[in-house]
């Protein structure tokens, strides 16, 4: 994904919020989006939410600050559509241009928004997020070859020290220069090793993760020893997502994660389950999504939380009403088990990124 795509389409994305277009205004809005992108850390979720039409006061203030930074006379009141679109451009820019936790979180959150049934104000955002999350997942697992060449350091001319004859006393001051020179060589070697080892360690970590995931996917039972075949589709979808998340050493997860989950779900991958079904199962299995508050972009985790708050043994309705009322997310929204499982996996990653 290149940034040219964003620049090329900026005018098209902002068009519905502009009647009078001119190059200066576009440049101004581009600068605002870039400024907001640079300040995305900690604002990822509100920005993604705004990019899907849910512009809250926090997002409004955040964007207002960046608009004011470029032009302190700009009035943001009553310009919600423009702010939503600027948020979307900022998110697209962050996801496309960065490769850090911010980009991963924004990308995963944008995919989560699509699962929750939110429409992005710029249509390409879900595809951009999808592609970039996969790309980041690949990049953090790239096999950098450590010590491809024999490790060597260049040293200058070493001082000549005459080998003492047997029994001849050695004057320490005579060998000091030689010891110092040797110490410098060793230091250089250590430096070269320090540079090479992280690559080797990273490669080892990604191989460990890969091997562990591959062994996991061909196992016939889950962690507790319960055969996958004896579990219902939704039970397997949730357990598989949790077990895969536990094996994910670096974020975002590998691009093959979805395929691994589908493989484990086999024929049931195409069966449907609602967000509520996934949440009930996640509650039963005691899935921990961290301390995240209920949030639209964490639909399953939010359902789990609100169910624990409002659900009773005989009442599965009230907590679903709470989800609808508080988050404006339909807990009865259905998706395939494969998508549901991926979503649980995604939310577990989001929770980890937020905790970091």
């Amino acid at each position: 994904m290149n940034m040219e795509f964003i620049d090329d389409n900026l005018a098209r994305w902002l068009k519905p919020a502009l009647i009078e277009e001119d190059a200066d205004r576009l440049d101004y809005y581009r600068a605002v989006a870039v400024s907001a992108e640079g300040d995305m850390l900690g604002h990822e979720l509100i920005a993604v939410l705004a990019a899907h039409g849910r512009l809250g006061p926090e997002a409004r203030n955040w964007l207002a600050g960046h608009l004011a930074k470029q032009d302190d006379t700009f009035v943001t009141d009553g310009r919600d559509e423009l702010l939503r679109r600027l948020a979307a451009v900022a998110v697209a820019t962050a996801v496309s241009g960065r490769s850090d936790g911010v980009a991963a979180l924004a990308g995963l959150a944008a995919r989560s928004a699509a699962f929750a049934g939110l429409d992005a104000v710029i249509q390409e955002l879900p595809s951009i997020a999808d592609r970039r999350v996969a790309q980041m997942g690949r990049n953090v697992r790239s096999r950098v070859t450590a010590m491809a060449e024999p490790l060597s350091v260049t040293v200058g001319k070493q001082p000549t020290v005459k080998k003492p004859a047997e029994g001849e006393a050695v004057d320490p001051t005579q060998v000091a220069a030689a010891v110092t020179a040797q110490a410098q060589v060793i230091k250089k070697l250590i430096g070269a090793l320090d540079e090479a080892l992280p690559a080797a360690a990273g490669r080892q970590r990604s191989l460990d993760e890969e091997v562990e995931m591959l062994w996991w996917v061909i196992r016939e039972s889950d962690e507790s020893g319960k055969p996958w075949a004896s579990q219902s589709g939704v039970e397997r979808a949730v357990a598989a997502a949790a077990e895969l998340a536990a094996r994910t050493l670096v974020l975002p997860g590998p691009p093959s994660a979805g395929h691994l989950l589908r493989r484990l779900l086999a024929n049931e991958a195409t069966e449907n389950a609602t967000i509520a079904d996934l949440a009930v199962e996640a509650s039963k299995q005691g899935l921990a999504f961290g301390d995240c508050d209920a949030h639209v972009l964490l639909p399953v985790a939010s359902c789990v939380r609100l169910r624990s708050e409002f659900g009773t043994a005989t009442d599965e309705e009230t907590w679903q009403n709470a989800v609808q009322n508080k988050l404006d997310v339909d807990p009865k929204r259905a998706a395939s088990l494969a998508e549901g499982s991926e979503q649980v996996y995604r939310e577990l990653q989001i929770a980890r990124l937020l905790a970091q």
């Binding site: 994904m1 795509f5 559509e81 096999r143 493989r263």
Partner: protein
């Protein structure tokens, strides 16, 4: 009486009255902003002559505070049609879908927009509901001027008399989707100039910003065998002019709209349909897509309150044609079998 009791909640499904649990987590609802309180009991202190029984009879069920999150807040307001800066300001608030209503002088442009607005005066129209307007006065005045009930012997439409590009705001919503229509309110003379070769970017600068175009053909002239060939030729020239550089963007949807269909007999209609097909092909060659033909009578003489053919035109305008762009090809990347487990 200083305390009020909670008698319900404005949030659907809240069990506050059943078991005291509040959806917002407030203990027994105390402090919850959604809680509905027994205003009748509280109010009796200050309203002389009203007994508690009488107040209670109104009951909380009839409280206007009740509602659902699905309700759409309708914004009303505005006066005249909007200048471009005014429309620009409005677009930043609600977005915009600009419809260029093009056609020669008195071809029925204003009537068509007024009658589309009129559809919403009777409730939902083609599955869409009125969601607000900042040009309400103008739309209302133009709609009512068209009606015989307004007291005119010959209900007629005041011609657009502005010298600049103006827009009429009409926002509608259906389901989760909101369509912020802005219909152009541009004098026919500007389009006549475009037909005669004037640069579209100077005459109708709004063309470049248009999301869809309606090219109106005056049915009254099509019904006149001396005028109809010239009328169709001018329409062709108008489409050519609008699609020149500085005009419509490629792939702008265009509708060829026969207005005043009620003025045509069957033979004339057949003739027009045949000619319109050629215009349709011509517009497609000029880069418009999709191109459709509609036969309408926004205000038929026989039944001025029952427009003909506007429903299908409006539905066509509301169609969601937006397709996401194909992303540029990915950069060459390391490909590992583990990442290609689906292959």
């Amino acid at each position: 009486m200083s305390e009020t009791r909670i008698v319900g909640c404005e949030q659907d499904g809240c069990p506050i009255l059943d078991d005291g649990r509040c959806l917002e987590g407030f203990a027994e609802g105390e402090g919850c902003p959604h809680a509905l309180r027994d205003v009748a009991v509280a109010a009796t202190e200050n309203v002389p002559g009203v007994s508690e029984d009488e107040e209670a009879a109104d009951g909380p069920e009839e409280s206007p505070a009740r509602g659902t999150t699905a309700e759409i807040h309708v914004e009303l307001g505005g006066d005249d049609s909007l200048t471009l800066p005014q429309a620009d300001r409005l677009a930043t608030a609600y977005g915009s879908f600009v419809v260029l209503v093009a056609g020669e002088f008195q071809s029925g442009k204003t009537t068509l927009v007024a009658e589309l607005y009129g559809g919403f005066l009777r409730g939902r129209y083609c599955g869409w509901s009125f969601a607000g307007s900042d040009s309400l006065y103008t739309l209302d005045r133009r709609y009512h001027t068209t009606r015989a009930k307004s007291g005119l012997d010959h209900p007629d439409m005041p011609r657009t008399d502005e010298e600049e590009m103006r827009l009429l705001d009409l926002r509608v919503h259906g389901g989760r989707r909101i369509l912020p229509f802005m219909f152009s309110d541009v004098r026919g003379e500007f389009f006549d100039n475009v037909s005669q070769g004037a640069a579209v970017e100077n005459e109708v600068p709004l063309a470049a910003r248009s999301d869809a175009v309606l090219v109106l053909v005056d049915g009254e002239k099509v019904g006149d065998r001396y005028l109809r060939t010239e009328t169709l030729q001018l329409t062709r020239l108008l489409i050519a002019g609008l699609t020149e550089e500085g005009g419509l963007a490629p792939d702008t949807p265009l509708a060829i709209v026969l207005a005043k269909k009620d003025k045509l007999d069957e033979t004339d209609t057949v003739w027009f349909v045949d000619q319109a097909q050629r215009l349709q092909e011509f517009a497609a060659v000029r880069g418009c897509a999709p191109v459709e033909v509609f036969l309408t009578a926004a205000r038929p003489d026989e039944s001025p309150h029952a427009p003909l053919g506007l429903d299908s035109l409006f539905e066509w305008l509301c169609e969601d044609r937006a397709q996401p762009l194909e992303l540029p090809p990915e950069e060459a990347d390391q490909v590992r079998s583990f990442w290609r487990t689906a292959a």
